[in-house]
């Protein structure tokens, strides 16, 4: 029996009108992983921040957090607490891309952080190399700027930042959000390795598969209160079986025909090379593949947001001009794109509802009042109430914005809706609502859905057809059940940590 490395007593967070986190107690021994699960708004992120002594403006913290015998006490001034956090507790934030300094090379920042615990130059370099390796990156990535890394690599770089000081306790806020299945498996394997070396982890997630894979213990948060705790297997329950195959749509006329799409960088590297996509009206066509395989580029090329060097996109028998600014309003309406990063696709200073209603006015010529009415009805159906929708984007959570972004695309009444990771920030309940809305859309309007996703269980349950991209080419394609079967057979054996890297140019 070892003594707990993390000891939390009565950790609470409150604003004058409400209690956000109510007297949480935790004890975590070295190498143990505690999963904290709960719906959006249950207080997971508040707990993650409070463990590091952080709180949003106006939020008051109370309680006691001790790491390896050192009190991180929220009452002391910040410079003192900061020095105590260094090398003791680390956090992997929910949006790792934003945790990287855009104007500094990854390796330089790692070196600065390594200097907190190592003085010698060689020791620092060893710590940096080891952190990169543990996070699943190579030494060559240290020379890159964040924008030169793929989404999955940014995730791993952020993990390396957290690991380089060798903290005893690691707080992970949704570490697998937006990662493809291979990268997720790699991250899970890395984290399991860290735990085996004695790092204690608090894992906050709505991804129950990851929680089951990593956690020893689990607790369920509901409205800031611990409602259940115990061994992970008891609290989280067994993994669900595969979902039944949906019946394919009756109407088989091709609605979307993209042929020979090719996108080349200015340096001459092909991101997308000769990719075909065909989908019938009302079909769900999923696009999967590792980070850097060209999934987002394909989605953007369909929507006209990147201009392909070759290839055509035909919707309902009408060819679309490759560049968006050459497409008329009717052609723009035909293909709508839901951005992977919902927050960055909203203007910061306008109410969300107004922005959701905009395509109805611009592309369908609705009067603004009616567009707003349709918008708020749609948002309500997706679980975003009118009061929330009247706020600016900063007042909405990532999941709420993701649903608003989808509603905005639906308001254009497109023939083809391209969704890039539209469920990545959603918990199970909201995901069901969103999938139901998508299902209604394709059933009632015959809208063809192209879903870019990392989530194989989602793909398995909703997709009619699947295209697998690898290195910018179609690696496999066919009916969903067959493709996923082949994929499962192929990924059962080899190690996963090394795959999923974008090819070096």
């Amino acid at each position: 029996m070892s003594s707990p490395v993390l000891r939390v007593r009565g950790l609470g967070a409150r604003v004058p009108s409400a209690v956000l986190l109510d007297g949480v107690d935790l004890d975590l021994e070295p190498g143990r992983v505690l999963a904290v699960v709960g719906d959006s708004g249950a207080g997971k992120s508040t707990l993650a921040a409070a463990l590091l002594g952080e709180a949003a403006a106006g939020v008051e913290l109370c309680g006691e957090v001790t790491v390896a015998g050192t009190d991180l006490g929220p009452t002391d001034p910040e410079p003192v607490r900061r020095a105590r956090r260094a090398g003791r507790i680390g956090l992997l934030p929910q949006h790792p891309g934003t945790a990287l300094d855009p104007v500094r090379r990854v390796g330089r920042v790692l070196d600065e952080l390594a200097a907190l615990v190592h003085t010698g130059r060689d020791e620092r370099r060893a710590a940096v190399d080891s952190a990169l390796r543990t996070a699943g990156l190579g030494p060559e990535h240290a020379r890159r700027f964040p924008h030169q890394l793929s989404g999955g690599q940014q995730q791993r770089a952020a993990l390396a930042l957290t690991l380089v000081t060798g903290p005893s306790v690691l707080v992970l806020d949704e570490p697998t959000t937006g990662l493809d299945p291979l990268t997720t498996a790699g991250v899970v394997a890395n984290l399991a390795g860290l735990a085996a070396h004695g790092t204690a982890m608090v894992l906050l997630t709505h991804d129950l598969d990851t929680a089951r894979a990593l956690a020893d213990d689990a607790l369920v948060l509901e409205r800031g209160r611990v409602v259940r705790r115990g061994p992970a297997d008891d609290v989280l329950g067994p993994a669900p079986g595969p979902a039944p195959d949906p019946a394919p749509g009756d109407d088989r006329t091709p609605r979307l025909v993209a042929t020979g799409l090719r996108v080349v960088t200015s340096a001459g590297t092909a991101i997308l090379d000769g990719v075909d996509v065909r989908a019938a009206a009302g079909d769900v066509h999923a696009v999967i593949g590792p980070s850097g395989a060209g999934k987002t580029t394909l989605a953007r090329a369909l929507a006209g947001l990147v201009t392909p060097g070759a290839g055509t996109v035909v919707v309902d028998g009408v060819g679309l001009p490759p560049a968006l600014d050459r497409r008329s309003a009717a052609r723009r309406k035909a293909v709508q794109y839901v951005h992977q990063d919902a927050r960055s696709s909203f203007l910061a200073r306008r109410p969300v509802l107004e922005q959701v209603a905009r395509p109805g006015v611009l592309l369908r010529g609705l009067p603004p009042g009616r567009a707003r009415g349709e918008g708020s009805e749609l948002l309500e159906r997706l679980g975003v109430d009118a009061g929330t929708a009247a706020r600016r984007p900063s007042g909405l959570s990532g999941g709420q914005l993701q649903r608003a972004a989808l509603a905005r695309a639906m308001l254009a009444d497109p023939a083809v809706l391209v969704g890039d990771e539209v469920t990545s920030a959603l918990d199970a309940g909201h995901r069901r609502e969103l999938l139901a809305a998508l299902d209604a859309l394709r059933r009632d309007r015959g809208t063809t859905l192209v879903l870019i996703s990392h989530d194989l269980s989602l793909v398995g349950s909703v997709a009619d057809e699947v295209t697998v991209l690898g290195g910018g080419r179609v690696a496999d394609h066919g009916r969903a059940g067959q493709v996923l079967g082949r994929l499962r057979a192929a990924t059962a054996g080899p190690p996963v940590a090394a795959t999923g890297r974008a090819p070096s140019a």
């Binding site: 855009p102 330089r108 974008a502």
Partner: protein
């Protein structure tokens, strides 16, 4: 995406070629000043009272009696050798005349920058780290006021106080080149005061944004000391976007600060250009036109290359 270094080098090369093309285009236009002016450049230079003999002499001197292609070839050849002809007033080579004054202006610009950049960074950081604080409001107020005072008014007040009343500093450099350092103190103060507000306020906004940016918050969270956070993360993120603004300031200073030079009788580029225009010294005016083109194109080229290197994600060079 991952081929950025190669792509960066190529983009930088393309940017240099654009700059060279710009300069070539401007030099053709400057050549056209003598050759394509309506009427005759010699008559314009000499005015209506000139005798036909004077005009004929000047035409020979300017080479206007030779065919156009030959003159253009001469002009380009001269340009490549730094030979821009001779001043009609002093008979000195234009390159020497313009170059000499550029040296003085560059000295003034350099001194002003040495004061301007640290002051702007300091003020921007002080104000931007505590937005809305008394320090922020006081600094912003003073900087806006300083920027609002016209150069000549500030210059006159400074001369009245420090030269005429206190007698600490010379009022002008009249009668000589930039002899002693004390001659430059007041001009530098006027220049810095004039540009400080714009630059400091831009840096203040940068600091304000960067100081709250998620990556900076995260590094503090991981325990990075404030000194490192400020110097290695907040300042680069906040100040680098101001490079373009700084380039505009350098360009305007190198192009000659006519008011300041006139006020303190400094023999710099600005007063030289004014003199050349009023004397209708066409070759010298051409020299200044080329100099302005070169400094503007050069300064912006450097600013773009530096931005592309230090702010790679902004894709300055496209």
């Amino acid at each position: 995406m991952l081929a950025a270094p190669r792509r960066g080098t190529r983009a930088a090369g393309a940017r240099v070629l654009v700059a060279l093309a710009q300069f070539a285009a401007v030099s053709v236009i400057v050549f056209a000043m003598t050759s394509l002016l309506p009427g005759d450049a010699a008559e314009i230079v000499l005015g209506r009272d000139a005798t036909p003999e004077q005009v004929a002499t000047l035409r020979t001197q300017l080479g206007l009696d030779r065919p156009l292609p030959e003159r253009f070839a001469d002009w380009v050849g001269g340009l490549l050798h730094g030979d821009l002809g001779r001043s009609l007033v002093t008979g000195q080579p234009v390159a020497a005349e313009v170059g000499g004054r550029l040296g003085q202006t560059a000295l003034l610009t350099g001194l002003a920058l040495i004061m301007l950049v640290p002051l702007a960074l300091g003020a921007g950081v002080l104000a931007g780290r505590r937005p809305g604080s008394p320090v922020d409001r006081a600094l912003t107020g003073v900087l806006v006021a300083a920027q609002a005072v016209p150069e000549f008014a500030l210059g006159l007040v400074l001369v009245a106080v420090f030269s005429l009343q206190l007698g600490w500093l010379p009022a002008t450099a009249a009668g000589g080149a930039f002899t002693g350092a004390e001659v430059l103190v007041l001009p530098v103060v006027v220049l810095v005061t004039n540009h400080l507000g714009r630059l400091a306020r831009q840096i203040r906004v940068g600091v304000l944004d960067t100081d709250r940016a998620e990556h900076v918050v995260h590094l503090r969270r991981l325990g990075l000391p404030e000194r490192v956070v400020l110097w290695r993360h907040v300042l680069p993120g906040a100040a680098l976007p101001s490079i373009q603004q700084l380039a505009r300031i350098v360009d305007s200073m190198l192009g000659g600060v006519v008011v300041v030079e006139a006020l303190f009788a400094l023999p710099g580029v600005g007063s030289g250009f004014v003199d050349a225009v009023s004397a209708r010294d066409l070759p010298v005016v051409q020299g200044y036109a080329l100099l302005y083109a070169a400094t503007t194109i050069g300064v912006n080229l450097v600013a773009d290359l530096v931005s592309a290197r230090l702010l790679p994600h902004r894709e300055v060079l496209g």
